[in-house]
């Protein structure tokens, strides 16, 4: 008898878990984000904190710095006016969409490519940057292009599109998915893999900090980055798109590109300038 009681208890609790999981609660994300942000005069952006040139928390003053950070600030000023505040929340490739969906952040500007699979879950702004996937290897490596990766071990970050791409282009490559790009690089450095793959801008930032490593083979995909916004937030999305257009039109955008990517070896900033 006692056993049955235990079993019943377990089954009941499992059912409870499943019911809880099933009932889609209405989180903050279903409210009108644009109205809320105008009231608080703040847009909360999900940004990367570990990518030099793009989004990096400077350990000296604890502030976020990078191209995406500056762009987010510029767009915020266009959307909310001169005194608008941009608040930054650190996200990873893995946590960014869940954090957006549960309302912790209003928008994602974190090296996220516009992909059909992602479009099913969230909406995107117009593309604000054209990146492409590339490979980072040690300076003396025999790997020259993506085709050389077959039979090799490649590191990348979990939740990034790079993993799917590499599995299509070099099906025999073994992919190790580490929690973030910094750890993917550390794993590469300690010999857990022969190459690291992800978008060229991210790798460029890593190559600047680690002169023993270089980008090879150019890009083999096109990854248009978009700002991620919750579904049903059309007002907010339109406002962001308008802000982005203005930032490009008044020349701020190109200034930011020059500021962050003007001096990166192996990266042609002229290709990504916008008119």
């Amino acid at each position: 008898m006692k056993r049955f009681k235990y079993l019943a208890l377990i089954i009941t609790s499992l059912l409870l878990v499943l019911t809880l999981a099933g009932c889609g609660t209405q989180p903050l994300s279903s409210q009108n984000v644009l109205e809320n942000d105008k009231k608080s005069n703040t847009i909360t952006w999900g940004v990367k904190a570990d990518q030099k040139l793009i989004g990096l928390i400077d350990v000296k003053d604890g502030k976020e710095k990078g191209f995406e950070i500056d762009l987010a600030k510029a767009i915020t000023k266009k959307v909310l006016g001169k005194n608008g505040n941009a608040k930054f929340v650190t996200v990873t490739s893995q946590s960014r969409i869940p954090l957006l969906k549960n309302g912790n952040i209003d928008a994602i500007i974190a090296t996220m490519s516009i992909l059909p699979d992602r479009k099913k879950v969230i909406d995107f702004s117009d593309s604000y940057f054209d990146a492409g996937q590339s490979i980072l290897v040690k300076k003396n490596s025999s790997i020259k292009s993506v085709k050389d990766l077959n039979g090799k071990t490649v590191t990348s970050a979990v939740g990034s599109n790079s993993v799917n791409n590499i599995q299509k282009i070099a099906p025999k490559a073994r992919v190790l998915q580490l929690p973030d790009f910094a750890q993917a690089l550390t794993a590469l450095k300690s010999g857990q893999g022969e190459a690291m793959t992800t978008d060229n801008v991210i790798l460029a930032g890593l190559a600047v900090e680690n002169p023993d490593y270089k980008l090879v083979g150019g890009t083999f995909t096109t990854e248009p980055y978009g700002i991620g916004i919750n579904k049903g937030q059309d007002d907010f999305r339109k406002a962001i798109n308008k802000g982005l257009k203005e930032v490009i039109k008044d020349g701020t955008y190109n200034k930011l590109i020059m500021k962050w990517f003007g001096n990166v070896p192996g990266f042609d900033y002229k290709e990504v300038l916008r008119k």
Binding site: I10, L14, V17, L18, A21, G22, S93, Q94, I97, P98, D117, R118, K120, V121, T155, V158, G159, V163, N164, L176, Q177, L178, P179, Q183, T186, A187, K189, S190, G191, Q192
Partner: protein
């Protein structure tokens, strides 16, 4: 959720397999290593006691993730190349063995001193007395806390996900971030862990009843 499970069945099962394998290996080795250090801690020799104590205190008080990262990132640089699965399993073994050592030592300590003295008086050596008289009684006493350690071990094996060890948690992260069905994925992952831990739980209870 059923669809998620069916679509990603092979990934879940392979993750499940690596988790079970890692847990079994870590369980086996940590039990042996843990028991050895427990005996060291109660040996008459002071040197042995110090060695045992240092091992237990060091590895019991460092986070599992730190030990694992050390084997994944540092050892390959200077000593020998080890992959994520091995590094995770070694970390798990060392970490758990420190807790098992403490558990078994408390068991040995709660066996009456007279047992050891009587065994020695019969002419047994320290090791003979330990093996034939003290340890059998000690293990019987520590079955419930040992069961806790085993269950913790299985759950802690999720550390493999951080070093690309292809375990259940690793596959869960990968699936959650490609399907975006975060909640469902982790519920399924949780259920898979229950499939491993509940039988351990029941078996330890059964063992406790049988031996008590």
């Amino acid at each position: 959720m059923i669809k998620l499970l069916v679509d990603n069945w092979s990934a879940f099962i392979s993750g499940f397999g690596w988790t079970v394998l890692s847990s079994l290996l870590a369980l086996f080795f940590s039990l042996i290593i843990g028991s050895l250090f427990a005996i060291l801690e109660v040996m008459p020799s002071k040197v042995a006691r110090v060695i045992g104590n240092v091992y237990v205190e060091v590895f019991r008080n460092i986070p599992l993730l730190v030990i694992t990262m050390f084997f994944y990132l540092v050892i390959p640089l200077y000593v020998v190349k080890i992959n994520g699965f091995t590094a995770g399993t070694i970390g798990l073994t060392i970490y758990t063995s420190a807790f098992i050592a403490e558990t078994v030592r408390s068991g040995i300590n709660s066996v009456d001193d007279g047992q050891m003295e009587a065994a020695r008086a019969q002419g047994m050596t320290f090791w003979q007395a330990m093996k034939n008289v003290v340890l059998p009684q000690a293990f019987k006493l520590v079955i419930p806390p040992l069961g806790n350690q085993f269950i913790n071990l299985v759950k802690n094996s999720s550390v493999l996900a951080f070093v690309a060890g292809f375990d259940l948690m690793y596959q869960g992260n990968a699936i959650a971030s490609t399907t975006f069905e975060t909640v469902n994925t982790y519920v399924v992952v949780g259920l898979f862990y229950l499939v491993i831990t509940l039988p351990i739980s029941y078996y330890m209870q059964h063992l406790e009843r049988k031996l008590a």
